[in-house]
């Protein structure tokens, strides 16, 4: 009996060992071209090529030229400009935008030297620039100097860098400046009085006084800036100021519905979902935590809201949230749960109270003026009317700092001094895990008497040890000649004599496999893959890519490529794909650390 027990125990141990070995096997071989190794370099390459950073879609010059409506054309140009990394000369109206985008990119890749130069340059231009407030042309004809929340963010990032460098006096100044920019939300007295009356009319209970209180609170609710200010005062040993700042680090004021409707128009419901009410108490904003915690992590999530042109001439602009799945982050240190990050800042919330000011009235006037001039011109000549319609744009300014995140979440803790492995797991708003967003960082140092301050950004596939890639479905296979045919236009840069991998793709479910064959393909000319990536997040979660053979290209035309199978076998009944991405290993099985970490190791 004892022998039997020993055998069972030995068997169980063996199973556990084999499982452990298998679980670790896939993670360890990280190819040098994977995102997990080359992420920074890929980002910097975009800057070197003057490309764009983190856009949803980019409109080509051809598309823009072919667009007949000047409202849409202007909106597309503004959209492209919001993400550009291409440097512009000072004479260009948009020269601040690449400075901001480059600043943020360099900040994300840890090059604070360059980031500081770009952002300080941009911040000074945005703050000091004086220009005539009126023009009969569209608002985009003006030099871009950002909204109050964008100026606040430029100051905030400068503050973060100075704080990290240990220059606390200047960091304090930058965080205070961030708060000043936030206070610009509060409009002038005349406008405020009008809004208060409107508020009093709309809400039966609340009066004008209540509205003034709300707006004062809205202009003073940058909780992240207050939190960082408290940390800075702590370093400067100004304890009274620490307490004052911490009192504000919990302030949150809901934006009145009619203001939201004015700012967001048709996007108001979407705006509500991207600006949820945060939990009432910030557990990390206490003096004890500020004193005790030696690891502080700020996690940036999502993307800043877009601006969408509206109105018959596109003369109005509405704030439109940009979709992103990650809403919750849980942090682990060396496999142990540290806690859930607290949503301390939301850019959508900062942007919504922006009061529609004189600019909007002027824009409506311009649109009406354009209409009247058009009618007047058409009485003389239809060509003249068309000229007015085509050449006089009164489109709203939809340029924005597109690479900003929408949320900041905060976590801090006291951690044993030493080197640690930090893992951040991300979840969507329904609490479903998002494996593609998982981040693991090695060798994070913590010290007894010094704080480690980390600012991370959640980006898809940032820590993925395998690359995403394209493959072409093999259209025919001739077993007698051992020849494979596929659409040559599907794979870029292939050449005669090149070896390509033949793969199968399995989702562990026949229905899903069929769905993938129907919906996993990319339309010709389409570069937008976010739709397909969402499918990988939601449906295609358990995929296995298997290399089954290698083929050598023997004939190549623009549309057709013929290959000789040089390695492996193919089954005529199965679907095969061919790819020019060299798979780092024969089997790539989806693996994440959610199960291991959630169970606790």
């Amino acid at each position: 009996m004892k022998c039997m027990r020993m055998m069972v125990l030995a068997f169980c141990l063996l199973v556990l060992l084999v499982n452990g070995a298998f679980a670790n096997f896939v993670h360890k071989n990280v190819p040098n071209d994977s995102n997990a190794i080359a992420f920074d370099q890929r980002l910097l390459l975009r800057q070197a090529h003057g490309e764009y950073i983190w856009p949803d879609a980019i409109y080509s010059q051809q598309q823009i030229n072919a667009q007949k409506s000047n409202t849409v054309r202007d909106a597309w140009i503004a959209h492209n400009l919001s993400f550009t990394l291409k440097a512009f000369p000072r004479e260009d109206n948009n020269f601040v935008l690449p400075l901001l985008n480059r600043g943020l990119l360099n900040y994300s890749t840890g090059n604070y030297d360059q980031a500081y130069r770009y952002l300080v340059n941009a911040q000074q231009c945005m703050d000091d620039l004086k220009q005539k407030s009126m023009t009969i042309a569209g608002e985009r004809a003006k030099i871009f100097k950002g909204e109050h929340y964008e100026r606040a963010m430029a100051n905030f990032y400068l503050g973060l860098m100075l704080y990290d460098r240990g220059d606390y006096e200047n960091a304090r100044a930058m965080f205070s400046r961030t708060l000043e920019c936030d206070r610009e939300t509060v409009p002038d007295q005349e406008r405020l009085d009008k809004l208060a009356k409107k508020y009093a009319r709309k809400t039966k209970e609340g009066g004008e006084e209540e509205f003034f209180t709300i707006y004062q609170a809205l202009g003073n609710d940058n909780r992240l800036a207050y939190y960082m200010l408290a940390r800075t005062y702590m370093k400067l040993d100004q304890h009274r100021d620490v307490e004052i700042s911490l009192n504000h680090a919990d302030d949150w004021q809901d934006v009145p519905t009619f203001i939201k409707e004015e700012s967001c128009g048709v996007f108001v419901n979407m705006a509500n979902s991207f600006d949820p009410r945060p939990p009432p108490d910030n557990p990390y904003a206490t003096k004890e935590r500020l004193n005790k915690d030696n690891l502080v992590i700020l996690i940036q999530m999502g993307f800043a809201p877009a601006k969408s042109a509206a109105g018959w001439e596109g003369q109005k602009d509405f704030l439109a949230p940009r979709d992103y799945p990650e809403r919750k982050a849980v942090v682990y240190i060396d496999g142990k749960r540290l806690g859930e990050a607290y949503p301390i800042f939301n850019l959508m919330h900062q942007a919504t109270p922006t009061v529609r000011t004189l600019k909007d009235t002027a824009q409506t006037g311009k649109a009406a003026g354009k209409f009247l001039v058009g009618v007047f011109a058409s009485a003389f000549s239809s060509d003249l009317a068309r000229l007015v319609q085509d050449k006089w744009s009164v489109a709203a300014d939809t340029r924005r700092w597109g690479s900003l995140p929408n949320e900041f979440q905060l976590i801090s803790a006291r951690v044993e001094p030493g080197l640690h492995t930090l893992t951040v797991l991300f979840y969507d708003q329904n609490g479903n895990p998002l494996p593609h967003y998982e981040q693991t960082h090695y060798f994070i140092p913590t010290k007894e008497d010094e704080e480690t301050f980390l600012v991370l950004r959640s980006l898809r596939d940032k820590c993925n040890t395998v690359r995403d890639f394209y493959g072409s479905k093999i259209t025919s296979y001739n077993p007698k000649k051992n020849e494979i045919v596929f659409n040559a236009a599907d794979l870029a840069g292939i050449q005669i004599g090149q070896n390509l991998d033949i793969i199968t793709f399995d989702l562990d479910d026949e229905k899903l496999n069929q769905q993938f064959m129907q919906e996993g393909c990319v339309m010709p000319g389409s570069t937008k893959i976010t739709f397909l990536q969402k499918k990988f997040d939601k449906i295609y979660k358990k995929s296995t890519v298997t290399r089954v053979g290698v083929a050598n290209i023997i004939k190549l035309t623009k549309s057709k490529a013929v290959c000789k199978l040089v390695e492996g076998n193919m089954d005529l009944k199965k679907n095969y794909f061919i790819t020019n991405y060299t798979l780092p290993r024969n089997i790539i099985k989806d693996e994440n650390n959610y199960d291991t970490l959630q169970k606790g190791i």
Partner: protein, 151 residues
């Protein structure tokens, strides 16, 4: 146009239209694959030590064939001496050794460059920048593990 010519033109047009229609309706054959394999929770071997991580006992300076790329300080030199390295060096001579090789230890303005400056990449990747990498970035991890990224 006689009847035969008409039939030729008609059937030709019909065939061309049909072929065009079929090719236009052909299903795309380009597929997107996005597998995900997470990094291991166990950290890999620490190859290079640098200031942000802290000196690893027993590691001698990279320029002398070792794996230490810590910024020279009096404490670091003491640690080297304790491990039996650079007994005949003091701090100024060690710093001069780096300067002689054109290696940048810190930038004048004091900012972190994460080895993306003109002197970059990091010394361990063949550059001449030895400024400590920025914590939590990919370069930080690459320098620590000695993994050279390929793009």
């Amino acid at each position: 146009m006689n009847r035969r010519q008409f039939l030729y033109v008609f059937s030709g047009t019909l065939a061309a239209t049909l072929a065009g229609f079929l090719s236009g309706c052909a299903k795309p054959t380009r597929y997107y694959f996005n597998p995900y394999v997470a990094k291991n929770l166990d950290s890999p071997e620490l190859v290079h030590c640098f200031t942000a991580i802290g000196h690893k006992r027993g590691a001698q300076p990279f320029i002398f064939g070792g794996t230490c790329v810590c910024t020279p300080t009096t404490e670091l030199l003491k640690a080297y001496h304790a491990d039996g390295f650079l007994r005949d060096y003091n701090l100024p001579t060690l710093v001069a050794e780096y300067e002689k090789r054109g290696i940048v230890l810190a930038h004048e303005n004091g900012w972190q460059c994460n080895n993306q400056c003109k002197q970059g990449p990091h010394l361990v990747f063949g550059g001449s920048c030895m400024v400590s990498p920025t914590i939590g970035t990919q370069n930080f991890e690459n320098v620590a593990t000695g993994k050279m990224p390929t793009v």
